[in-house]
Symmetry: C2
Subunit: 325 residues, 2 copies
């Protein structure tokens, strides 16, 4: 399996599982600072949910780091800027919200082409209608870009969390998976894809991932019971959603992007397609059609055995990218 995200060189300290670390830290923060007011959600999902006079406000942060999330020899600085904002915006979309504002923090080695980085940020900010209203630039040995994004959920429906899936609900994705990992594989092999070819589409998926904002809103309006974006690989992310919801999953089929492999689709990550769980499948399909969106792809259903993680009757490993911390 090719992972778009490559961990830095390991030391002799043993890695701790990322999910366990994140969960433990979230628990410590909530116990020291919380509990959140009613209706709010602090840590553990794609975004935090804050209740304000404007309604349910979403707040999230995500970072991309040279050598971990991207290889500066394979992507342009504009690609880095695009991706850095888009991955955080995607978290807002994954709860059914739309982004309102972003602030970005850049650590840059001397000589970094900040102008090109800003080109990509501006392209993404324009595409996602998410103005970057502030930021901070400092010196660093390795380039990193951290984006914090606020968002709003329109209407009375609460944001869609990871924890609401119920047995019997259908599981959908917004598009084929593995494109980003396949694109990275081609770029690493030095492939220069022909414009318009499937290879070019794979490389574009790696360099310029999309935030599925309209799809997220459509899912919210179709009363999705759970949702998240596929950032670390379907195997791992679906496992996270199922664990948060306390359900099992039985998958029938995984849509694989043309030119990508099933392993890349299951474990590659960085596709940023949405993983949507709904009790009313017809309503979801109709909502997507009404908005002129590509139809969502049904990949399976939730079951009442919380330990079940099956693909066509065979147990799946929760493969995907985990940071070694």
């Amino acid at each position: 399996v090719v992972h778009p995200k490559q961990p830095p060189k390991a030391s002799d300290r043993s890695p701790t599982d990322e999910d366990a670390t994140v969960e433990r830290i979230g628990r410590r923060l909530r116990s020291a600072l919380g509990p959140p007011p009613p209706g709010e959600l602090w840590s553990g999902d794609d975004c935090a949910v804050i209740v304000s006079a404007s309604g349910a406000t979403l707040f999230t942060v995500d970072a991309v780091v040279a050598g971990v999330h991207f290889d500066s020899s394979l992507v342009s600085m504009a690609d880095v800027g695009w991706k850095a904002l888009t991955v955080a915006v995607s978290d807002v979309g994954a709860m059914g919200g739309r982004p309102t504002h972003a602030v970005m923090s850049v650590g840059a080695p001397l000589g970094t082409d900040l102008e090109r980085l800003v080109d990509g940020v501006i392209e993404a900010a324009t595409a996602w209608r998410c103005p970057v209203v502030g930021g901070d630039i400092c010196a660093a040995n390795d380039l990193f870009v951290s984006s914090a994004v606020t968002g709003l959920v329109d209407g009375p429906a609460p944001p869609v969390t990871r924890a609401g899936a119920r047995p019997g609900d259908g599981i959908f994705v917004t598009g084929p998976l593995g494109a980003s990992a396949g694109g990275l594989r081609l770029l690493r092999a030095g492939v220069v894809p022909e414009p318009g070819s499937p290879d070019a589409a794979l490389c574009a998926a790696f360099r310029r991932p999309l935030a599925r904002l309209d799809e997220g809103v459509a899912a919210l309006e179709a009363a999705a019971s759970a949702m998240m974006d596929v950032s670390d690989g379907l195997g791992l992310d679906l496992h996270r959603l199922a664990s948060a919801s306390g359900v099992g999953v039985a998958l029938d089929d995984i849509p694989v992007a043309p030119g990508a492999t099933l392993d890349e689709a299951l474990g590659g990550g960085e596709d940023y397609e949405l993983l949507i769980v709904v009790p009313d499948e017809t309503r979801l399909i109709e909502q997507f059609a009404a908005r002129g969106l590509r139809p969502p792809v049904r990949i399976g259903r939730c079951t009442d055995d919380p330990g079940q993680r099956d693909l066509r009757g065979v147990t799946m490993e929760p493969t995907g990218f985990r940071h070694r911390l």
Copy 2:
């Protein structure tokens, strides 16, 4: 002059001036993403100002980076966590606001003591009443912690920007300067200060800076015309405020922290005391007294010669920390 912030090793590329870079990027963002709506302020100040149903919302981000903002051999991981949140909270205080929520992004080398880092974050979040509601942890070769903080300004007065100082206004700071730079100097020299000594106070100022939130609110209520926090050194930060306001400055006296030098007070940075400019000096002093705060220290006044940067009649250089970008 000892700078608490040390730039990483230079390459053979020539450094660009940080302020010019930041200003150019801010200008590009504003021109590409449109002028902010009336009453809003995007980039160029301590925080962005967003108008929402809750009033004037502040939004800021700041990062600390190993080897740039701290030396892991001189500070504990808890100190890093404290500082990472406090420096962003300080930006909210510097506009007269109080923090509402934070999200934090951590890039950590394998084996980083994240539990201790979180200890410091929780201490700061508790001290500043700023719950950390979400975050992101990823692998990185050098530790960085980026904090995005939202805030609110109570009451009808707009947030205090850097740009409102007028000739004749008095210039104040909330306390003596240079403590942080002095503390770093002692720590580098291997000094182990006696508890309760002035040396211990200097080291604490470096390790555990304070956000002057009550002071910021008092200044707002005293109708301060301009304000910012002293993060990169008084010489540089006051130059920035004066330039944003289009005024000159004539300083009489700089309060130097016991054990620190005048150079450290002028150019050391990371004190996070507030720099406050007011037309009505008595009102400021009364507001501080009414809240039981340490009296603000008058250091000089604004003049109508926009090029003037004088200390006791002698031209000052705008010394302080600038990132080499």
